[in-house]
Amino acid sequence: MTATVRHLLRSVPRAGWMCALIAILNALCWSIITPPFQVPDEPDHFAYVAHLVVTHRLPSSSAAEYPLEEARTLTALQQGNLSLLPPTGTISSLAQQRKLEQDLLPVARQSASIGDAAGVATSQPPLYYLIEAIPYALGSGAPLLTRLTLMRLVSALFAGLTAMFALLFVREVLPDTRAAWAPSGLCVAFAPLLGFMSGAVNPDSLLFAVSAALFWSLGRAFRLGLTPRRSAVIGALVATGLLTKLNFVGLVPGALIGLVVLTVSASRSSRSIAYRALAVGAGIALCPVVLLGVSHLTTGRSLFDASSSEVSTVARHGSLIPAINSTWQLFLPRLPGMKPYDPGTFTTREIWFDGFIGQYGWVETAFAGWVYDVALAPAVIVLMACGAALFKLRAVVWARAAELSVYASMAIGTAAVIGSAAYFHPEAGSFTQARYLLPLLAMFATVIGLAIAGVGRRWGAVLGATLVLAVMADDIFSQLLVISRYYG
């Protein structure tokens, strides 16, 4: 086992390690720049970890009531004003800083008052929070802001894994286009939204890493063939994802379809090994679901209470067609004959593209409109070059159609989860944030890689370098934007 791990680690190219280091450093910068609790839902995720460490139980109430220490910190930091009113900056005087430190001291000494609530984080599975419990516990004697910094550092490490697995995925799916590997990995490592989210306490950071790893494991199995060991890795990653964040559910159908397609392919050489691999992978992948069922049975809850409540929500809305229609329009331009759901908004551009280029804080800190217009130019070039590559490689594309449809179904699954949440639960807040698409970062890296492959060897290096520089520029100016927003 150790030898296998050692072999796997050795097989990571140096560019992969470098991309990981770069992504970690980038997320570290973001963690320093972003004021405490100015990342979506960070107060709730922090409260979840605090609850877990103090009570050794999962939170059960989704009320926005924070532990006393956190509530006082949020007040002292003027968190409410900061997140609602962009013109308001962070605290600006030493007197305010001293007051903040004084406010925190008495709470640090008294036994922490922990409720049972963790806001929107309550419904999330516990894996990320269990990992974050380690830095929280290590800093248990220190003020809250120290613990928050330690926890953000752990999140930053996941950014490294995301960039590394994105590069490795590109290597698996484009093994003959070596020139595309490093630029693709670098574009992910410097992606400002990845740095921003991974520089904060938010399970998205682990979700992005696990999702990228899942893409890599599937890509590897498609290239080298399915074995019980590779299937176990896929299953373990699916299980890890399911224990990380609910949004991961969107990737699961695609991953399971991938396992079946791989099994069919492997069964041509050895049927018994192929079926054993499928059983191992699917068995491990579904472990969290079985665990959840057992936990519900032992606590006397209905086995299917969560799913039945979702079914009743869907039933209340009547037909599924409007939900599909709304989801389509959330991501793509409206087709003739469709009922308009977001009239006046070009969601593809204004939510997803603009959000990926740069919207920070509680999605209220954005560049001037012309920046997004300028960013459209390289995006269009990339898409055209990517299209050219797919046309040029059409024979390969056709031969690998099953593999591509697996990745496509993972993307559709992710979009379906976001779209259905936005349609069926509009009261729960906004699900329309670009960060929800970052589990597909490995696919973004592949699009970059294909674009580089599409323009040929000579221009590929130029395009790769240009794109990396563009993403670097986006990252630097995004950091300056956030600095000017909060500290200017």
Binding site: I32, P87, P183, P343, A461
Partner: protein
């Protein structure tokens, strides 16, 4: 990129010269399509170049503004759709050259995007109005003018402020931050060059 960075750092950000002293505490109303929202009694200082209104949208529609004095429109502003913010800054054309009391009227694109008017409670007489119907209060408005200090000249102030409300605290944090950013970019460029070779 370096030239663009230099340009940004040498640019003077607009500064808030005054506000109408309304603290935002609540949503007053939704801004309906095809409606005109007006707020009278705004005393604009001389050299006001832009107004920042407390309008909140997830993805905002286009908003137009007319500033009038004694019944005559003296300046206009417009912001296109697609903005995200808890406030909206509208540049005035032309800028206000002398202090005066004005009436601000806003219109929006007639699309179904929700847009909230935020502010604080006030008497009916002072309240903002939607199609001449009074709202429960007034919106917050901030008056901006061109700044005189570039971001570069404000660097010390920004650095000092970055060190507050954080752990570790202290303006010195900017030095390791800059070093990490520089190292990160350097590593990226090195890797790019190495792989290209």
């Amino acid at each position: 990129m370096t030239a663009l960075l230099a340009r940004v750092l040498l640019e003077a950000p607009p500064m808030v010269i005054a506000s109408n002293s309304v603290t935002v505490t609540r949503e007053l109303a939704h801004f309906p399509s095809h409606a005109i929202v007006c707020q009278a009694g705004e005393v604009l200082p001389a050299s006001t170049t832009a107004l920042r209104m407390s309008l909140i949208a997830y993805v905002g529609p286009a908003v137009s503004m007319a500033v009038s004095h004694d019944g005559h429109v003296i300046a206009r502003g417009h912001h296109g759709a697609g903005w995200v913010s808890g406030s909206l800054t509208l540049q005035l054309h032309p800028e206000i050259t002398r202090a005066m009391s004005v009436n601000i009227c806003l219109t929006r694109d007639p699309v179904a995007i929700p847009l909230g008017l935020f502010g604080n409670s006030s008497t009916r007489r002072l309240a903002a109005r939607v199609n001449s119907r009074p709202l429960p209060g007034r919106m917050r408005v901030e008056y901006l003018k061109r700044g005189h200090h570039s971001w570069l000249s404000l660097a010390r102030y920004v650095a000092r402020r970055m060190g507050l409300g954080h752990f570790p605290s202290g303006g010195w944090i900017v030095i390791p931050l800059t070093a990490i950013m520089a190292a990160d970019l350097g590593l990226g460029l090195w890797l790019l060059r190495r792989e290209a070779q």
